[in-house]
Amino acid sequence: MGDHHHGPAKGLSRWLFTTNHKDIGTMYLWFSFAMFILGGAFAMIIRAELFQPGLQLVEPAFFNQMTTMHGLVMVFGAIMPSFVGLANWLIPMMIGAPDMALPRMNNWSFWILPPTFLLLASTLFMEGGAPAAGWTFYAPLSTTYAAPSVTYFIFCVHVLGLSSIMGSINIIATVMNMRAPGMTYMKMPLFVWTWLITAFLLVAVMPVLAGAVTMMLMDVHFGTSFFSAAGGGDPVLFQHVFWFFGHPEVYIIILPAFGVVSQIIPAFSRKPLFGYDSMVYATASIAFLSFIVWAHHMFTVGMPVAGELFFMYATMLIAVPTGVKVFNWVTTMWRGSLSFETPMLFSIGFLVLFTIGGFTGLMLSIAPADFQYHDSYFVVAHFHYVMVAGAVFSMSAAVYFWLPKWCGRMYNETMGKTHFWISFIGFNLAFFPQHFVGLAGMPRRIPDYALQFADFNMMSSIGAFIYGLSQILFLYNVIATIVAGKRVSEPKVWDGAEGLEWTIPTPAPYHTFEVPPAVK
């Protein structure tokens, strides 16, 4: 054990062998951006095929692989690791801890990801192609009718779960055990709170996903009949198990985004967050409700009416804590002295568009109406409003907000704002028309469509290309900032920002808070 006051090691071994939460956070962030580009490339193929009716570019079987891989890579490779990266960078700095609680395991959680996604992507080149049953991989599409590559996919999910569980245990241990003296739970920044609850959700549901894919594995290779009615099982069992994981999973994705926005909006409103306590309770309520609403994804599968009603009402309840959050953010801005730097623009974009996604979610929660919406482009529009305009917008906001603290250089504001506006326009052009074609009956996951959907689909594709291209600008801006951005050195980069991370020097030193600060 050496001296802790030195800087990082030189060369590749710094990254391979590191135990430093900032290094690991950086790796998570870069990895997730690479996956964002990969998943984005799949999306571009999908939108290119849907640019016109008819089959132009790809075979239907390959189209199915693209929708599947796009979803898997974006959910498990881009969004989740990006927020874990933020957690690694920020939680120790926000609670006054010297590092994460279990630093070596932290590195392992990260390093599992790149080879696993390499293996997952390699299934595209295997005989029979990549998994093609959608990112929800319902049985029997993913069992009886799956290509052999599904076996590799199943094991990938197992180790991704392992990585998530270890990462989450680390976050829970850090938050519960490493807070500086005086940093009581109800003084923690909201980002830390949302991650504590997210980590709990992850530890609770990733094992259930592991169970689901294990049953798949047994059905495919060992002759069991979990998902086969001929043996007394039920394909619908798969959907129940999957969504028992899957619904908490969508909150796993969005809760850290709530946390990010709850840090940024007060900073640029120059006011404390309105209703801090209610934000904490709302987050906890959403997490609790996420366990009892899963079957609203499967209203049309054939459930007893009592089940449909229960899951419908339980789902509607979620609107209450979510509404609390939205109103709190709006009220935080009320009579604040607002300024609209890029992080704030992305946060307001988040607020508006996420609320639209929330409302379409409310529409989908109505069981009888869902019989019309189910598996249509309306659903696609709904979840891209919450996943992209929700999670990805808040992630962009987070990068612009904390990048100056991380690297001691300020990004180019004009370029940042341009990135926002192009993203905003591209995103809405891509996904708003999908509400219309969905309501008019265009099914999702089909490479061809009826002629009356042609115009809206062309708009959608153009919007998607614009949104995709705007991310290149984002990448350029970030690299340009790191390499040659204007230097900033004051600890508090943003005059309205509050929290321990703004009390340490800029750029953040390699080791921070080796002696915990006293929190009043």
Binding site: L102, S228, V305
Partner: protein, 324 residues
């Protein structure tokens, strides 16, 4: 080397950079790649074709287990060297607690599947309730009882006669694992398994009491007894599986009863094997290395929590898989 800074503050030990994570990753990825390839060779491959799947799997597994060995050895040495502050020790406690919680959720998944099948799917397939139309359309003649010994496929006259796509042949067991003969109760293996495992939890507690009192002899003795009981349990379980396959016709292909039975007992048995190995390692640490003191024995304590956890899972298994 506990470095004291100001005002009684103990420095949190952040380890130097370490290759352990990378090595563990390499081992893990090779293992899963090998395991998946083995299964694909088995199901989709040409019979008799030579592949390197097993080699990759073994190499990966050896590398993985070796890395874990070095990793645990490192943490143990750090602890003995006094590098761990009280705060770091609490991190380990939290880590183990939440790990066990994740294991609870893993079993929750399979128990959930069992309840869903028993309470809802079975009756629906047999024509009851709102899902019951399927019975007349697809599975005419199927009636449901648990343990399920006649699969829907058999009820309609075999795989060839069923109306939906054929995805395997499911022949129900001749005899289930349920309690059969009150006169020969002593021949019912699950009962003995329960007795063995419950007593092992008790002996594990006695070992804990031993180390808490600083009585190493008592600790070693009761821990050895616990490990032995764990091994006996695993042997009985193996015997039960043999009996199931050889005498009862209860196999993985025996429909949903066999599926849930082997899934639940199989994963439980695997966890017993893991817990037994963990306890065995603690025993060797104590006997060969003289490690653990009355105040510092978390390696043992964590393993014992794990042991009590697999014991509790067994109680639920005994109730819902064997008795009810």
């Amino acid at each position: 080397m506990t470095s004291q800074t100001s005002a009684g503050y103990e420095k949190y030990y952040v380890p130097e950079k370490s290759p352990l994570a990378i090595c563990a990753t390499i081992g893990l990825i090779l293992s899963i790649f090998g395991a998946a390839s083995i299964m694909n060779d088995m199901t989709f491959g040409e019979p008799g074709q030579a592949t390197s799947s097993w080699t990759i799997f073994y190499l990966g597994l050896m590398f993985f287990v070796g890395t874990l060995f070095v990793w645990f050895r490192t943490t143990i040495r750090e602890n003995i060297a006094g590098m761990n502050s009280a705060q770091l020790k609490k991190s380990y406690v939290l880590g183990m607690f939440w790990f066990i919680f994740s294991e609870v959720m893993f079993f929750f998944c399979f128990f959930g599947a069992l309840f869903y099948v028993r309470v809802l799917v079975g009756p629906w397939l047999a024509g009851e309730g709102e899902g019951g139309r399927m019975n007349g359309l697809l599975w005419e003649g199927f009636s449901f009882s648990w343990p399920l010994v006649q699969t829907p496929q058999e009820a309609v006259g075999g795989a060839g006669a069923q109306l939906i796509a054929n995805n395997g042949s499911f022949t129900g067991a001749e005899t289930s694992m349920a309690f059969r003969d009150a006169h020969a109760w002593w021949a019912w293996l699950p009962l003995w398994n329960t007795i063995v495992l419950l007593s092992s939890s008790f002996t594990c507690h006695l070992a804990h009491v031993g180390i808490l009192n600083g009585n190493r002899k008592k600790f070693n003795f009761w821990l050895a007894v616990t490990v032995l009981l764990g091994i006996i349990f695993l042997c009985l379980q193996a015997l039960e599986y043999y009996e199931a396959y050889a005498e009862f016709g209860l196999t993985l292909n025996a429909g949903i009863y066999g599926s849930t039975f082997f899934m639940l007992t199989g994963f439980h048995g695997f966890h017993v094997a893991m817990g037994m190995t963990m306890l065995l390692i603690q025993l060797l640490r104590s006997v060969l290395g003289g490690q653990f003191t009355a105040k510092d024995h978390f390696g043992f304590e964590a393993s014992s929590w794990y042991w009590h956890f697999v014991d509790v899972v067994w109680v639920f298994l005994f109730l819902f898989v064997y008795i009810l």
